[in-house]
Symmetry: D2
Subunit: 242 residues, 4 copies
């Protein structure tokens, strides 16, 4: 399995306290956690928005079975052609795991078809992640609830399509709730959105959060070849008789 | 529209403080609220488990377009034949609105196929009901969030099938979450489960809770005849050519 | 209820045999059928892609509760800003009924998030539309199956998200199948895709096809105000306490 | 992975031409196909309704990770307590793969909550199984379409809940359609219904049909322990704080 971890990497480069919290960048922290959990069979690469082509060159993306995504402030800066190429690869079967504020990225909103708007509050809410679909592979080994001591609040209404499978629902100190673990298939690609995490809190250093991301990567990985699933073609009577 | 409101009516008959809270019974309170909201076009009847045949005679049930259901302690006392008859009518197209502890009734669990088990806590949690599907007819006019000052906690994991449409998610003082507004179609019948309410709290006297129940009754009402939708019959080639 | 019927109107203006089949245009035929079925309470307007602003001016669209859509060859000619405005109104709660080749429109694909690619065959297949969700309002009064004597074949795999509710599945003479009646909610808007119909066949003159479209318009109409359902805003602790 | 293949085994014991078609019984044919595809890591056992306790003793069932099910005429003969025990194990996480006429079994209908009624026709329709969810693990390697030369027709409307994921739709010579590959989660258990197959046709000898069943078994296998996922228990405030 080949995994590409993308990070906007803007906070890390511009704010010292965040660089201190995430000395490897969020991408580096997530990549290291995946390497530890998925073992040597997983090839893990990273890409950041400050790199040429955002690090999302055709070579890099075409080599990925699963793309993990974190972005926040620079959604609008990514050019539409890159987004269209990424989206096409998801529809072709590449898995996609979108974290936290990546909900607002062009890639995720273009795959959902909705605004993905939601309430939010910077701060230090206690964030409880409840498993509502026990037995789902993404919930395997995750405590009930998963307690994140401090996190940004994301709250309903969250403008997403009805998930194909809803795995987690979160609550926050302020009483808000959030569909924080949602599975989708789009085209032949599997997509998982996970709400936890913010640059202001050490959420991605928490082992149980890392477990969820690793589970999600395994779940989202394609079980067959990427591409070739759909056609837009005339089909004469009897075409399927072989 | 003909509505039948069923109540176990056990607490009202056996505990004075609950009879005082609900002098009309929960069924009477709900029926009055529906009459006020649905107007004279709605014919509203009630049935209670202490009546002969639980008040759920074939005549009463066959005359109902929508059945509203509250039960709690006496689930096991209802005979299977009555439950089978009610279930058949739901599959034929009668709407069903199940309230709170009715989740554990034979009727609801036999339609869901699952245990409908859940966490719970008697007490006086602040119960916030969040609309996650704005624009849904059952959420029309409901505040975001609906605040129920005191209620029993019901918490995840709630052993229900993935809802066809999830309208409400609740949070409680203790940090628990609950899928408290869930839509299903089973056979030709529409089913709505609403988590709010307990005999220990005056929840069904709250106008906004009554609004939800009235919206749900409108949504669950059949749009055509009840029955005749499914067949289990041999069908010769060409049977559909008329 | 205010309904706007949009048609690309390209075939009618460029091919005499199609102008003869649809002397009012497909939009005019559909609008007349809706007027007959929905009565005087429905205000029905039409728009065609050859008009200034495609007839889809802000005034016209902001006055619509439901948009009915037919398009085919000129999808790429519609500018992105118009599509974004239409999409925003759907997310705000305007209903959308997309017919046949409209599946490939920018509006529909941007709401689905997928390519909406599918197999197809010009020709005269016998098209059977089977109701798989009896009791659904869109299937009310529709024969089982609805027989369209001659139609273009559209076949699986159809690259759409798993429908929230699947109402119709079609089969064709050639043995292909197609999910031809699919319900979605996106944002606060209800969307129905209906596969029947082609410019080459008189499908939209068939009464039962018109019945489906009228049912779909009723189903898709918003039950409350359009807009204001979602926020993307900071929310201080306690904001919801009133 | 431990797999239990159940077969009613009534036709094989009472009709020589069917014993000739399936000399190992349908259970034996399916078990051999699974053994070939899943390799030595899979422990495969069989059970038949003519055995004591239907072969579905607590020991046999508690040792199963996935149950494969075929039944037809003797649904009513199975006692409710056995069905309740099997259903409980599915909700606890055991996978279930139900074939063809097993749709009418007490086990499947009690998990679906619906009648599972459908149209049918003994005969020799050409049965085309179309993949509508390419990329789904159950469709991996399956031809598009899978052509079964002769099979019994099963047709819509099929009284099942909206599937969590719809993988296959079939068409038949007579023009009927059928949702023939449907995924559900109930409790913590994964359930797959597959429509193909009949005692009158050699369907289960066809390699591609065997491939589907093997894929389904892999998909339905639990990813964690069976049992312990749900509680029905009072939960004091703060119970989750550790």
């Amino acid at each position: 399995m080949r995994i590409l971890v993308f990070n906007e990497n803007h906070h890390e480069l511009t704010r010292p306290e965040i660089a201190e919290r995430y000395p490897l960048g969020i991408h580096g922290t997530v990549a290291a956690a995946l390497a530890e959990r998925l073992g040597p069979a997983a090839e893990i690469a990273t890409a950041t928005q400050d790199q040429p082509g955002y690090g999302l060159t055709p070579e890099a993306v075409d080599a990925a079975d699963v793309l993990v995504w974190w972005s926040h402030l620079l959604h609008a800066d990514m050019d539409d052609a890159t987004v269209a190429r990424l989206r096409r690869r998801v529809l072709d079967g590449m898995g996609l795991v979108v974290l936290h504020s990546g909900a607002g990225s062009k890639l995720f909103t273009s795959l959902m078809g909705t605004s993905c708007d939601r309430r939010w509050r910077h701060g230090e809410d206690r964030h409880l992640v409840w498993t509502v679909k026990p037995g789902h592979p993404i919930a395997a080994g995750i405590p009930q609830p998963l307690v994140i001591p401090h996190d940004e609040m994301y709250g309903e209404p969250f403008d997403i399509p009805e998930p194909d499978e809803l795995v987690f629902i979160s609550s926050f100190t302020g009483g808000e709730v959030f569909r924080s673990g949602a599975c989708y298939t789009r085209g032949a690609g599997r997509i998982f959105y996970f709400g936890a995490g913010d640059q202001e809190c050490p959420v991605y250093h928490q082992a149980e959060v890392q477990d969820v991301i690793a589970n999600a990567v395994r779940w989202a990985a394609p079980t067959g070849p990427v591409g070739g699933h759909f056609v837009d073609a005339p089909s004469p009577v009897g075409w399927w008789e072989r």
